[in-house]
């Protein structure tokens, strides 16, 4: 609303007031045109001004549901480039935090794996392999003791060291 609108009805009733109003409008126009708004804005301490505003009070008045109803999330997501975001996610680190054992035990994933694996033959082979690995380790420990080696032998060839699974 233009603040001068309030003066106009009074001006119509009295010619002196009308002249006074015109003079005032002219003075205000001259004043505003002479005013450097940027200079004025630079002098205002916005931080102090914001500090005096109770944002919590404002937020309490905002109906977030209405606000969210007006937001088109699909359009918003369509503008998001997910690739750089995903590039920053360390998937290996993420997966290392997953307890796969518990996942297999508690979900149908276990049944899927059980049905897809080779059955009794695969079980028997796994058992034989794990037994021989255990015997390998047992014999190796005793040989190391008998030879009284101070420095442990390399566990794997150099090219396989970074990729090997932890013992």
């Amino acid at each position: 609303m233009n603040p001068r609108d309030r003066l106009r009805p009074a001006g119509r009733r009295n010619p002196v007031e009308a002249i006074a109003q015109q003079v005032t409008e002219r003075v205000v126009d001259l004043l505003v045109s002479a005013l450097d708004v940027n200079e004025l804005a630079a002098r205002i301490d916005l931080n102090e001004l914001i500090g005096r505003v109770d944002i919590n009070m404002i937020l309490k008045k905002v109906d977030l549901n209405v606000l969210l109803d007006q937001v088109d999330l699909n359009a918003l997501l369509a503008r998001v480039d997910l690739k750089p975001l995903l590039d920053r996610v360390d998937v290996n680190d993420l997966l290392s935090q997953v307890d796969v054992d518990a996942l297999v035990e508690r979900t149908d994933l276990g049944a899927v794996i059980a049905r897809s694996s080779g059955g009794m033959a695969a079980d028997a082979l796994d058992a034989v392999r794990s037994q021989t690995v255990g015997l390998d380790q047992f014999i190796d420990r005793w040989v190391q003791r008998l030879l009284r080696r101070k420095h442990p032998a390399p566990s794997a060839p150099s090219a396989l060291l970074p990729a090997q699974a932890e013992p």
Binding site: D123, R129, L147, Q164
Partner: protein
Amino acid sequence: MTGQPPPVSYQGHYAGSVSRFTAFAIDLTVSSAVFALALAAISYGVHVVTGNNVSWNRSNIVVAVIFVLWEFVYFGYSWAVSGRTFGMAALGIRVVAADGSVLEPRRGVVRALVFPLSFLLFGLGFLGILVQREHRALHDLIAGSAVIYSWDARAARLRFLARQAELAPPP
């Protein structure tokens, strides 16, 4: 299947003596059986065609030479093509280059050719599997190869857990 889960993965580690010896024993059994079957098939073929019975004597020099050549082919071809024989595949081990990279076919053939050297002097060449720091036998040192576990025990453990979960009564 035992009640204990398999050990965690040693994939990529140098394979030990028991795994290697067991794999070799399986290979020797399989290759000998295949050789015997081949001789029997040839005998049968000769009998069908000519009507004569042919018997093979293992002490015959020709048979012995063919057997040795067959063993070279069995081991050499397996190592050159895939880095593992049937027995090694069963035990989950494989031959790689000394640095852990894929074994070149040439090295696989060399390994098969120098393999008998490890039998000399009462099998002293095999002692390296026990005492050498990288578990490399004489033929490994000559051919520039090493034997590692290629078996994914982690996957086996998942199979084991899956089987246990399926067998467990529903809550």
